[in-house]
Symmetry: C2
Subunit: 149 residues, 2 copies
C-alpha cells in the first residue's frame, strides 16, 4: 500500500496499534506502538510511540541506536545521565548502551518517531543496583519520579 | 549531540540545510535537504526535505526504497503510475524502481521525512522517452504540469 492516509489522533490507515501491557515491575506505562515502515528491503524501521500523560517508555539500554523525532506534544527524556526537556520536532539520538526513557510529563501525550536498525540486539533492563546508581543523580531521581525540575 | 532542539520553520540545532541548486533540466525545483540522522552504527538515514510552493523533488527511480512521512503541509506525489494527494502525517512507501516525485501543489510548503538505507544505489533519471510514456497518463501529465486534478 504505497499511500496510507493519516487519521485523526495520530493513527494511520492499515497500521495496527499495539498497546503495551502494563509491566508488573512498572518499567513502562501507558505507551502504544505503531510500526510505520518495516520491509525486508529496508535496513531501518520507523515506529511511532505514544505515551499518555503520566506514562513512560521502558527504561532500557542496548547496542543499537535510536534516532528519535518528537512528533506530538512535549515531555522529558533521560539519555545516559542527562535529563532533557522535549518539544515538538526536537531530535534525540540514543547512543549505544545509554540508559534511556521517554516520559510525558506535561499533562499531554508525548508522541515520537523512532528509527532503529531492522537487525538489532534485545534491550537490557536495569537491575535494582542500576536504578539505585541512576537515582543518586538528583535530576534523574526527579525524572524517574515523574517530577523533572 | 544527543538532543537537538527544533527551531522555528522546521530547522534544527546543528543540522546544516542544503539548498539544492536548480537543475538545468528542471528535474527538481526549490527543495532543501537536512540530514537528521546518519551514523555509522545506523543502517538507515532519516532526512527532512522541504519543497517550496510550486516546487518539486527530483523525478527519479532506484533500487532502494523510501519510507516517507509528511511532516508539514500538503501536496501531491507520483509513485509508479499513481498520483496521490498528501496531507500532514500521511505515509508514502516508494517501492524499488518506482518512478516518484513529490510536489508542493497547494500554495504552501511541503515538508517530509524520508527514511532510506545508509548503503544505497544511485538514483536513475528518466529519459525523454520515459517522460513521454508517463505523460500519456492524463493524471500524470497534469501532475507533472503542477496541475493535479
Amino acid at each position: 500500500m504505497p499511500h496510507r492516509a493519516a487519521q485523526a489522533g495520530f493513527r494511520w490507515d492499515g497500521v495496527e496499534m499495539r498497546p503495551y501491557k502494563e509491566d508488573e515491575r512498572a518499567l513502562y506505562r501507558t505507551i502504544t506502538r505503531q510500526v510505520l515502515f518495516a520491509d525486508p528491503e529496508m535496513h531501518g524501521e520507523l515506529r511511532y510511540f505514544e505515551v499518555a500523560p503520566g506514562g513512560f517508555s521502558t527504561l532500557e539500554r542496548h547496542q543499537h541506536m535510536h534516532g528519535v523525532l518528537i512528533l506530538r506534544g512535549s515531555g522529558h527524556c533521560l539519555v545516559g545521565d542527562v535529563v532533557t526537556s522535549l518539544a515538538t520536532n526536537d531530535l534525540v539520538t540514543v547512543p549505544p548502551m545509554a540508559w534511556h526513557q521517554f516520559r510525558a510529563t506535561k499533562g499531554e501525550p508525548l508522541g515520537f518517531l523512532c528509527m532503529v536498525n531492522a537487525e538489532r540486539d534485545k534491550p537490557q533492563l536495569p537491575t535494582p543496583e542500576d536504578v539505585e546508581r541512576l537515582r543518586k543523580n538528583p535530576a534523574i531521581a526527579a525524572f524517574l519520579s515523574n517530577a523533572p525540575k
